[in-house]
């Protein structure tokens, strides 16, 4: 019975050893974890650059369309003035339709102003997430440097690592800044006058 228990312990310890890779400096995968977190940070930065680039292009397109719409509107007004005295009914009707279309494009552009603000919300959320990732990385490294898990063996070591990770997450939560964006959609926000 004791022999069987001993074999089970050996297997357990082997499993724990494979779960707890140790590098040459005696710390727990710090370099790998750091590289992984840096990778996440890099990807978040890439998303931010892509979104910013897209927003810049959209704003340029928006301004150009708006300028063209205004020119179109002015042109239709000028033609209407010239055609008004003896203009035929079908021509005047066509010009009215043109004015109606120009008005509707302007309305759509106004609505686009609300949607085009998404870049600012996304950038703030990405900065917040990057900050959270950084804090978690720092806390994990700090707990790793304390090295309490190294004093333990087998399952105890694994338990200490779990405890360390939980502690790092708790500290990261405390150190995290308030989330700057709570909006779940691009509907207009509340207005309050004091």
């Amino acid at each position: 019975m004791a022999e069987k228990q001993s074999i089970e312990d050996q297997i357990k310890n082997q499993m724990v050893d494979t779960l707890v890779p140790e590098d040459q400096s005696g710390v727990l995968c710090t370099a790998e974890a750091d590289e992984y977190f840096m990778g996440i940070k890099g990807e978040l930065n890439q998303i931010d650059r892509l979104v910013s680039d897209a927003v810049n292009n959209l704003v340029i397109n928006f301004r150009y369309i708006s300028k063209l719409t205004k020119s179109h509107h002015d042109m239709v007004l000028a033609i209407e003035k010239m055609a008004a005295p003896e203009g035929s009914k079908p021509i005047l009707e066509l010009l009215d339709k043109q004015m109606d279309i120009a008005g509707r494009i302007e309305q759509e552009l106004e609505m686009a102003i609300t949607s085009l603000q998404f870049g600012d919300l996304v950038t703030q959320l990405l900065a917040h997430t990057t900050h959270q990732v950084e804090i978690l990385n720092i806390e994990l490294q700090r707990i790793d440097r304390q090295g309490n898990w190294k004093k333990k063996v087998g399952e105890e070591s694994l338990h200490t690592i779990h405890e360390g990770i939980s502690k790092a997450v708790d500290v990261a939560k405390i150190k995290s800044k308030r989330k700057p964006v709570v909006q779940q959609g691009m509907q207009m926000g509340d207005i309050e006058l004091f």
């Binding site: 927003v55 810049n56 704003v59 301004r63 708006s66 106004e110 102003i113 609300t114 949607s115 085009l116 603000q117 998404f118 870049g119 600012d120 919300l121 950038t123 703030q124 308030r178 700057p180 964006v181 709570v182 909006q183 691009m186 509907q187 207009m188 926000g189 509340d190 207005i191 309050e192 006058l193 004091f194």
Partner: protein
Amino acid sequence: MAKTILAVDDSASIRQMVAFTLKGAGYEVIEAVDGQDALDKANIHKVNLVLTDINMPRMDGLKLLELLRKLAHYKTVPILMLTTESGDEIKAKGRAAGATGWLVKPFDPKRLLEVIGKVIG
């Protein structure tokens, strides 16, 4: 004479959308990229209204509000906060520091103009 509005935001796209909306309604717009830039410009130009974001580098919108209220010209000038933040605690801070109103992003151009019209006539 057109009234002048100081629009403060570190996001270029927001500044452009605000400027587009306000200029379209006949206001003159001065843009600032953060609180410090806004404070410098507010000292040079005596604007009729300040519309400011909160989360910005160098100086945030609440600090800007606090410093502007200490300047003689800006004791009574309306200062509106335009921000993604909507928590009661931060709103209370803004109110206590002398904010005239609180607008949560994203803004609707018509409603923004309505509010500005109400506070500066």
